[in-house]
Symmetry: C2
Subunit: 336 residues, 2 copies
Amino acid sequence: MKKDTLLTISERTGYSVSTVSRVLSGQGPKYRIAQKTIDYITEVARSCNYTPNLIAHSLRTNRTNTIGLIVPNIDNPFFSTLAAIIINQFKMRGYTLLLTDTMESETNEVQAVNTYVSRQVDGIIVVPVGNSPGYLEDIAGSIPVVLIDRYFEDTTLPYVCTDNYSGGYMATEYLINKGYRKLMAVQGVRTSMPNRERMRGFLQAASDHSASGVRKRTAGDSFSVENGYKETMAAMTSGDRPDAIFAFSTTILLGVIKAVKELGLRIPEDVALISFDNNRFLDYLDPAITRIEQPLHTIGEIATDSIIRMIESEDGHVSGQFQILIRPSLIEGRSC
Amino acid sequence: MKKDTLLTISERTGYSVSTVSRVLSGQGPKYRIAQKTIDYITEVARSCNYTPNLIAHSLRTNRTNTIGLIVPNIDNPFFSTLAAIIINQFKMRGYTLLLTDTMESETNEVQAVNTYVSRQVDGIIVVPVGNSPGYLEDIAGSIPVVLIDRYFEDTTLPYVCTDNYSGGYMATEYLINKGYRKLMAVQGVRTSMPNRERMRGFLQAASDHSASGVRKRTAGDSFSVENGYKETMAAMTSGDRPDAIFAFSTTILLGVIKAVKELGLRIPEDVALISFDNNRFLDYLDPAITRIEQPLHTIGEIATDSIIRMIESEDGHVSGQFQILIRPSLIEGRSC
DNA sequence: CTATTTTGCGCAATCGTTTGCGCTTTTACT
DNA sequence: AGTAAAAGCGCAAACGATTGCGCAAAATAG
């Protein structure tokens, strides 16, 4: 089983490479190749167990049927779930996926994009880190690019993201409706768009209900367990304890829980908890945590659909100015 | 920014495509291209912002610098962690990764492998589902293949896996040393090699200590929450309750916990728990769960190293008969 | 039985790079 | 000055597939 090419089959059958190519790519009828020729060539190809060389195919057709996916950290369940959805979507459509993990580094991201361009991918889906869409906008001029999960403010790049503002608002209002008044939000990286939007939702909801005595405070600066732990410790040992904490991510939540338990406080009696992002484990914590669930499936599907549409409609240049925010939903636990 | 090729640069500079190619691939000195020529061409290339076409490069050189990774379910934290490790390892070595999620289907796996062969990947790392290594062994004749996490019994395929027998033995002995005597193991898919090995370890440890009154029983048939729940319910409501349960996976464990809690039983007073596979969340459950941790990092590194060595040593045909089992370790929680 | 159409297929260029070989022009040496 | 060696670069053939164009043979028409 060395190397089987069209040339091999051509020699074996006596037909030209062109004919073999047309037959094996299913263009036989279109080029009026005789049915018996088609059958014959097909048969020989199978017996050789011929495998088409997709590299050569790509070079010639200028299509690789490959999509590049770039995420900040595939080890994060949030992104691995998202990746799983996207990978499967694309497989169903006949595309294969190149995956890069940037580890939240913009340098890695730029490098990954360049690699993808070099590899002539048909499209790129990226969860951008950093705040400089410039180079992505350049690329988007020649290759379809779609942002997911995070986006930029003044950009023409298409994106599909969660409506984090709504999520933040929703969670906060839920706490308020449950009777909590002294709210604390523990946020992640402040410059990141999802974080800012969640915060905006939190602040807006709190001030919309300031008349009923709702007071708010914010803390934190990273999507990490340590951050949640540290801020919670500080707040709960201060003179003015919050009665409810809104963790902006699951990692932050874990830190919050750790601190709360170490302090011997009960959830939700002493302090209520609500969190952002869903995870199966949250149902098994004690108590199960109420959280905002991002519509990952919808995001993955829309992103996939649109990028494929962009690829296939490429009448010379790429157009696709759609920017979509999808409302998340709330999953109730017993932590409020 | 249309398309910049060697030809473009060749025309712009007046030098031949060959010269441009040699310069831009760093072979300038080797072919004694004048330094000023090198500088000039390099400069022009940058100003055009030339991007090499890796497809053409691959076609010519017969190397794609691409590795195919096949996992059964990227949404499973176990595999996403493993994938993250492998992806990063390969990135550091200059390879890009194609990722496929087979969703535990052998059909998908075969298809994925074929796609990879077609795409001329330089190597394949696969967590195989199913029990028919045949087609993989064929492939391995022409492309380096390494199995991870799961392997086949009578195969020449190289693999790097956890020593699941040791893990099973270790967990069981731990329970016994803690004083538990009525042990139950809830297993996953019975035909899968890791499951069988864990079971073998469990049974062996139990019978090695049968003199001290250790009794064993087994149940279950799938790596799912439902399975853990169902079997635990059955066992704990039977006349003969186990005093310790060994869950063969995190998912099974979650089911076990669910049942235990619903029955109002305490961990570890009423029943002790130990589980296979590590996960950050296990420390936040109440109580933190004692578990066997698989050496994912080591597995990822060895697999990467060896496949790269196989690729680079390819003096015509692939050789690499190494089959490695790595001992897992035990992380203590408070569930025993 | 000739003229036209249809059928069935092959030629050769092309995609963008790499690379073995060889051709000029310098430079060095005696 | 004459010759040999070295420096600097280009030709053209790959890699394996696709595809516009066109040619011969067979079928149909007239």
